[in-house]
């Protein structure tokens, strides 16, 4: 019963949503609209559960003295935003938006900008033309790195055109094959999930 019902729900909703793609009938459309709305609502609850389990793990770690300071800072951050939203709402000028713009966004983009440094250090140490494939990769990378800055036009007017040619034909052809591969992979996985053959999503409770 614990496995039969979920598999049946998955089958029923999978077939309905697959079938409605091919129909223009108003009933099919209305069924489709309802399910889209349910999907949105349940998905939001999934994220609420995620937030609740983060809070629970943080509290448990604090009580077990595992990195208590950092966990309580994180918990404080988790509580600050909803409290600010309750007090001042979320419109322009609200403390909620203020703390997003002056704390969350700057830190998030700074963490991401760290990668510029790691790319530079890896470029010096890690990226060796050890094999033919690695050499092709590095040469293409240089064609793009040079071609997409004004330096290219100083070398020759047609340099950017070379970069675009490499990007629009050989690189695009390989990417298209990857896309087709992923497309087929997603399709077979979706079929196995709907037919109840692939059940990994039931694990990990």
């Amino acid at each position: 019963m614990r496995t039969k019902i979920p598999l049946l729900v998955c089958l029923v909703f999978g077939i309905m949503m697959f079938g409605q793609y091919f129909s223009a009938h108003p009933i099919a459309k209305a069924v489709y609209n309802n399910i889209l709305e349910w999907w949105q609502i349940i998905f939001a609850f999934t994220l609420l559960v995620g937030v609740a389990s983060f809070a629970r793990n943080s509290l448990r770690n604090i009580s077990q003295r595992k990195e208590p300071i950092h966990r309580s800072i994180a918990l404080a951050g988790l509580l600050v935003m909803p409290v600010l939203a309750l007090i001042g709402g979320t419109k322009t000028g609200s403390p909620f938006l203020w703390s997003f713009q002056n704390m969350l966004a700057p830190m998030q983009s700074t963490v991401f900008s760290l990668l510029a440094f790691f790319v530079a250090s890896a470029s010096y140490r890690g990226f060796r033309a050890r094999t033919i494939p690695a050499t092709i990769l590095l040469v293409t990378a240089l064609i793009v790195l040079i071609g997409r800055i004004p330096l290219a036009e100083l070398i020759s007017q047609s340099f950017p055109k070379i970069t675009f040619w490499v990007q629009d034909y050989p690189s695009m052809a390989a990417r298209r094959a990857i896309l087709i591969g992923i497309g087929l992979g997603s399709m077979t996985t979706a079929l196995r999930v709907i037919l109840g053959i692939e059940r990994t999503y039931l694990r990990g409770e």
Binding site: W38, A76, P82, I136, S186
Partner: protein, 204 residues
């Protein structure tokens, strides 16, 4: 200078301290970041979905059918005790089944059929000269597909085709690597702009 910019500047430098070494100041800033981002997401989800398309329509417009997604949503909370956690499988199954159902036609049409027909071009153009681009796309596509063909060993014709496919893949990964370096540098330049203009007022 505005208090917000000062705080943003200090937090930016706290994060950059990681470049020297992983240190408590960085760890504190990052924990604060993790907490804020989860708290922010909680507010935005709550308002945009739970309130807007569940509570308001259900309790003020009386769309009774919304009781079903409400109950299914609450069943997600059953995950917190091992005795009842199997109940969460039903809403998860609904989401995964729905996602799989809409994915099949999208993957087959937009990602396979459309890409196949976009690759079809006459091999000889109107003025009789060979169409190099069409040839490169055809060879690149088929040889890369050969690389991702698993039913036969990479020997003989398939082996050579797959090797050629590797080279096309390397061109794609090389171009992606070049553009990714470009992306990371732009992000760093954006932070340098903030530090030099807004925070330190060194330049206009």
């Amino acid at each position: 200078m505005e208090i917000g910019t000062i705080i943003a500047g200090i937090l930016t430098l706290a994060i950059y301290s990681f470049l020297y070494r992983d240190n408590p100041v960085y760890k504190a800033a990052e924990s604060w970041l993790i907490g804020l981002s989860i708290g922010y997401a909680l507010v935005v989800f709550w308002q945009s979905t739970i309130i807007d398309i569940l509570i308001v329509p259900l309790f003020s417009e009386w769309r009774i059918i919304l009781i079903i997604p409400l109950v299914l949503g609450l069943m997600m909370f059953s995950r917190f005790s091992s005795k009842t956690s199997w109940l969460s499988r039903i809403p998860i199954a609904l989401m995964i089944g729905t996602g799989a159902g809409v994915a099949i036609p999208a993957m087959l049409y937009a990602r396979t059929l459309k890409q196949m027909s976009a690759s079809i071009m006459p091999l000889i153009s109107e003025n009789g000269t060979p169409n190099i681009e069409a040839l490169v796309v055809l060879i690149g596509l088929l040889s890369t597909l050969a690389y991702f063909y698993f039913s036969r060993e990479h020997k003989g014709v398939i082996g050579n085709a797959a090797k050629l496919g590797t080279y096309f893949l390397m061109i794609f990964f090389g171009a992606t690597f070049g553009y990714t370096v470009m992306s990371r540098m732009s992000t760093f330049i954006g932070r340098v702009d903030f530090l030099l203009t807004d925070f330190l007022h060194l330049i206009k």
